[in-house]
Symmetry: C2
Subunit: 404 residues, 2 copies
């Protein structure tokens, strides 16, 4: 099940970035499950990683290797190489070394990423055996294959392609992401891989990514669980004919906006594919004192199993939304100043059900599969949006049966 | 569905405390839905209430009236009188006034409590019409009827009865509670009503209750949602032949222990009746730096939908437990020092799966319907236990269909 627009777009090529997939046989089926991405020699690369204290072995290795001018990403799905102790670290390093050997680079120029079941030993031999095939397949136009190779419980591949104009020259940004459960990214997403042909130095690219991720991947939640393996990477090949993007310039603003937009679209795609999702819910919190307050209220609503099951049932049970706002931990909140809307229908005003609210009007909104819940706190001018999905029988089914 | 021991116990009478129920017709069925509890004139009464900022109208009234020497509790199920604005306050006050009129007391000696659907006007006329019947039924031995009258989605009535010995004299403590969903009490529970014939002054009784609730109702969670109507009340009729319980005495310690035990049993009964629950999970966090840290880790595990669905599936997916510990926000946690046990089976040691762990051993534990998850953090000596239940299809079903 997935909500709304889920077609894979036509992706442009990014000069200087090639992708190759192969089937290592990590999963039980015969789909491609490893992906190698190669960057041009002059490329810069920035990344953000999960804040989970027990981050997986590949996250440790990728964090370290980010400082050594990465040339390759090696991603596998089907196994997270998390909770695997010292053996997991050895396995991640060995995969990097094998890729470097085949591709002709240094071990520490490879960033490894793993996603899938936690706590199982990484099948290193299967992965290294499939590396030559993935390298042979390296090509500019493998974006959809790449998006498919990193899927786990995802029901559709997620991609975005965007062209902006820098000094009259086209600059392209492509991104792919995966994720459907264990989703409450914190300074990172599940897995997101973004590439551009822009010229931009590493420090600036890292800034740009951090800002974009904060407003996109860090504003979504499916089930409030933060993965051990979350990572989002942006690679800039520098192969565009456009001039280098420099700090504080007009070009930087254009590029940063575009990167943000790509991140937001990829993040939204993850929520649309939320495990068992039948509805996309935009929780828009306005009139908060500060951004943090708006996010806190938004996430409290977005995490409430009672709110999420009511949406699954298309039940305009606004009392549950009000209760979630009330327990979000905001001090000195005045109930009488709070207003709540389902799309454009006002349901709560002056501390109770709005006088002009009718169950029919509420029901009409709830029957839609994309709904905006707007909460006006009446305290200030900050606003933030959090995206989530409903909680259905299928969420339980998918997660009860994940390993069987 | 409910887990394990759910029979209603034989409840002793509490001299000075009488209970009467009646059917006001608030719910669609014809069960008793209002409960009046009358206390002896000299009784003392203590209470704790929800920390939800949008607490319901009756909570406001009960908080105020607690200072006026309460003689009556008036409880209705089927309607929470929450999110009902100024009308809700009027309605709660009117119900108190009507009860005082019939029973012959002052309006502000009544504490009102409501539980049920949020956001619907309280059917005041139905309630006041049924008051004479409830008052006529006042009796010492109506504890089970009382426990049934306050149920909403509960599948069984919850009661505890306990006798302790103070200076050679028996002192009895009875308690009833209700709750199955929207359960993450914070300084209070859903609804809990406890009565004793002990002599104890109000300030001391309030202290005693606050300590007991912190270690019982505040250590359980079903779905992480804190209700707008939570309250826990203890009434002490002073009718026992035992001497008055005074601060710092040996008798106080005995009484406080017994009250804590009653609260813990009532809290556990709520988790056993968690909406859709098939398993009771005790999350025991040991070797934490402080109590707060242990509670934080315990609640992060207890709230994880991924952990809860794995338990529903009887799947020893310890990676999800490890991931929850990792995202609980504890600083400088060392993965290598963490150990995790399912009952007595060690599953995680030295940052990975324990060498001697087998899936068979894990599976054997998971097939049980009461499981203790022990997490040793290796940081200090604090320990705390959090109780929760699994997340099943039926949780979604119950909450998707609640208003239909």
């Amino acid at each position: 099940m997935a909500v709304g627009k889920c077609d894979f777009p036509n992706m442009l090529n990014i000069a200087g970035i090639t992708l190759g997939t192969a089937c290592a046989g990590i999963k039980q089926n015969v789909k491609d499950d490893i992906l190698v991405i190669q960057m041009a020699e002059q490329a810069t690369c920035a990344a953000v990683f999960t804040q989970n204290a027990f981050c997986a072995a590949p996250v440790h290795v990728a964090k370290t290797n980010l400082a050594h001018g990465p040339r390759w990403l090696l991603i596998n799905s089907g196994n997270a190489n998390a909770g695997t102790g010292a053996q997991g670290m050895q396995d991640a390093l060995l995969c990097c070394a094998e890729l470097a050997k085949f591709a002709g680079g240094a071990n520490n120029q490879v960033l490894p990423f793993s996603t899938g079941v936690i706590g199982q030993p990484l099948p290193v031999e299967k992965i290294t055996a499939a590396l030559p095939e993935a390298i042979k397949n390296l090509s500019l136009d493998n974006w959809e294959k790449a998006a498919r190779a990193i899927m786990t419980t995802d029901t559709f591949p997620k991609g975005v392609s965007k062209v902006i104009c820098i000094a009259g020259q086209p600059v392209t940004i492509n991104g792919i992401s995966k994720g459907a459960g264990m989703i409450q990214p914190n300074m990172a997403t599940m897995l997101g891989f973004i590439a551009t042909d822009a010229k931009i130095n590493q420090a600036l690219l890292q800034n740009c990514l951090a800002v974009a991720v904060e407003q996109s991947f860090n504003r979504i939640t499916v089930d409030g669980d933060t993965s051990t393996n979350d990572a989002c990477v942006v690679m800039a090949s520098g192969c565009s004919t456009a001039p280098e993007i420099t700090a504080g310039s007009e070009h930087y603003a254009i590029f940063a906006d575009a990167l943000m937009d790509v991140c937001k679209q990829l993040a939204e795609a993850i929520v649309r594919d939320g495990e068992g999702a039948t509805k996309l819910m935009r929780i828009l919190v306005k009139e908060a004192l500060q951004m943090e307050e708006a996010v806190r209220v938004g996430k409290t609503i977005a995490h409430s199993p009672l709110v999420k099951t009511a949406f699954f049932a298309s039940d305009p049970n606004w009392g549950r939304i009000l209760a979630a706002v009330g327990r979000s931990g905001i001090e000195n909140m005045v109930l009488e100043n709070v207003q709540i809307f389902l799309d454009d229908v006002c349901i709560v005003r002056n501390g109770g059900r709005a006088d002009d609210y009718t169950e029919e009007a509420g029901q009409q909104v709830m029957n839609r599969d994309e709904i905006t819940v707007t909460v006006k706190l009446g305290r200030g001018e900050a606003a933030q949006e959090v995206l989530t999905c409903d909680l259905s029988y299928d969420y339980v089914k998918i997660n009860a049966e994940y390993r069987t």
